[in-house]
Symmetry: C2
Subunit: 333 residues, 2 copies
């Protein structure tokens, strides 16, 4: 790219059905210039997350996306020049730069990051994915030694870490994922006790076999039918960690919710709790320390799926929604 | 009744659709005799609860009901004679005597009760209803001064107490009930800030008017459409107390669950938690003290709906499921 050109990917129109390449457009804009209090950032790695798709439905924990604006998205970026106190060229930051080569943002919207090797770990194990797994499982799920933990989207960026932390905590760990290959990877490589391929049909029976003592913690990334299959198999005082509802994101809204709500929640005294990882940022030092130790001790494996080139970001998100990836998907810009 | 006759109401068959009088039969049995460790009880007041109907669906937090057995149900009873250590004639106890004049139960299944005036308070404010309202609202709902609390089945035994405790805690309190008369009673007599008649149609819009700052605590007695209408109006970090699902009890199981689960639970970081009041029995002294103080100070009004005669128990339950009652319904045997 030329020195004065900033490539940007616009969300031209919010999809009403499935997300496709036609909803995006690559354009070239002038390099932005930082005003007082702002910094110019060179985007290095863009994080891809199922939540990107959920943002297109309207306001969630963030404002609704606008048509014909740069597609929103978090990234690791490097400060090129700075008029923001506390930020200097070379600093790494996490922020919502959106899908583009360069961005200008006010200092107060930047979170400074340490330099780690490889830098991609800032988006996987030390990023939103790792922190989401860590706090969701430990703070809401509260798994106890000997309990059974089930996680859906288990081969994804969050699920693959949830299952490994559950193992570290001494739990029987069952992953639900799409396809025999992912399932083999969960058990053979990541050490899950069992894996269920939801593409093989309704999972109620296979879950019963994989979790013969019932489910104490269900870490729910998908909602829908899989949540409904888990509900009756929860043990009394079980915890359902509501992290996402991927099954509901890409397409028309579901006509129904899962049966068993709230009947089974009452009878089994279940707790279902939603969370957004940013709520826990005040406690992240402890998380970084634990994750780093587990990594160093070989108890935690990090899987990353790095796609090259800003221009491939739309296809990378569309593929993620179709379940292409294993571990944390990101785009190297 | 003769001295040696024990009238019993049998559940002859579990209903597949709506509960009707044809599902019950009154029979006369011999007086039971207590064996070693058992006590003979004269049933005084039988508690009627929507949960009685839920038990007919199968095992819940109690074993499934059997056809052609005495209909299960809790009651206040008086010990007539006792071979159970610690129980003497004249003692009052709460136990699952079922719907009959007399019952024999082992001492370990009896919970001794104080003598209070009127005795009916042992089933209303100091009974399952009062404790359910107290612990469900305060322990799970955790209402804070100035928050908005919404309760469904608000004119029922639990809901009428939930709303009053919410007022005591300084909350804006909105009740959902069936019919204009019940709604007037909630606001004029019990002091609710607003009441919504769900029989007037979908409640989404009226709830928005009644709870303009959103809902912080929803005490859910009904599930189904009303839960679905509340979910999008919950504030961030709201709490949904799952106490019951009356809308699902009497008839065929619902084909669907409420939409918004788990999507809205994630986005709004909601907590949905089920409970059974017996889980809290270890803490009931505090509850009795608080409820008694509020009663004495005129901050809490107790509504009771006492039906006379064991033979009328089936009709009393059928009527309760149809929403006939205000406050705690019970049968004087």
């Amino acid at each position: 790219m030329g020195n004065n050109v900033n490539r940007q990917i616009l969300l031209v129109e919010k999809p009403t059905g499935k997300l496709g390449p036609e909803h995006f457009r690559l354009v070239e804009a002038a390099m932005p210039e930082p005003k007082d209090g702002e910094a110019l950032l060179r985007v290095r790695y863009i994080s891809l997350d199922a939540a990107n798709r959920a943002w297109m439905h309207g306001a969630t924990y963030r404002a609704a996306l606008e048509n014909n604006a740069v597609m929103a998205g978090g990234s690791v970026a490097e400060v090129v020049s700075s008029n923001a106190p506390g930020f200097a060229p070379g600093d790494l930051v996490f922020s919502d730069t959106g899908w583009q080569d360069y961005a200008v943002l006010p200092g107060k919207h930047l979170a400074k990051l340490p330099h780690v090797e490889p830098m991609t770990h800032l988006l996987s194990v030390y990023g939103i994915a790792g922190l989401t797994a860590y706090f969701g499982l430990l703070d809401i799920g509260r798994p106890q030694n000997g309990e059974t933990v089930v996680v859906s989207a288990a081969a994804g960026s969050v699920g693959s870490i949830v299952g490994q932390i559950a193992k570290i905590k001494g739990c029987r760990t069952v992953g639900i994922a799409g396809g025999a290959e992912k399932c083999r990877w969960l058990t053979a490589h990541l050490g899950f006790d069992a894996a269920i391929d939801y593409k093989q049909g309704a999972i109620f029976k296979t879950l019963r076999e994989a979790a013969p003592k019932g489910v104490d913690v269900y870490f729910d990334n998908v909602g829908g039918d899989i949540l409904e299959a888990c509900l009756p198999q929860m043990n009394v005082r079980g915890r359902i960690v509501c992290c996402g509802a991927i099954s509901q994101y890409d397409g028309a809204p579901s006509a129904t919710g899962p049966r068993g709500v709230p009947g089974l929640i009452v009878v089994k005294r279940l707790l279902m709790q939603g969370f957004i990882v940013t709520d826990y940022f005040g406690k992240r030092d402890k998380a970084f320390a634990d994750l780093g130790t587990w990594l160093k001790d070989g108890k935690l494996k990090v899987e990353e799926d790095v796609i090259d080139g800003l221009e491939n970001t739309p296809a990378a998100l569309i593929g993620l929604l179709a379940g292409e990836n294993r571990g944390k998907r990101m785009v190297k810009v």
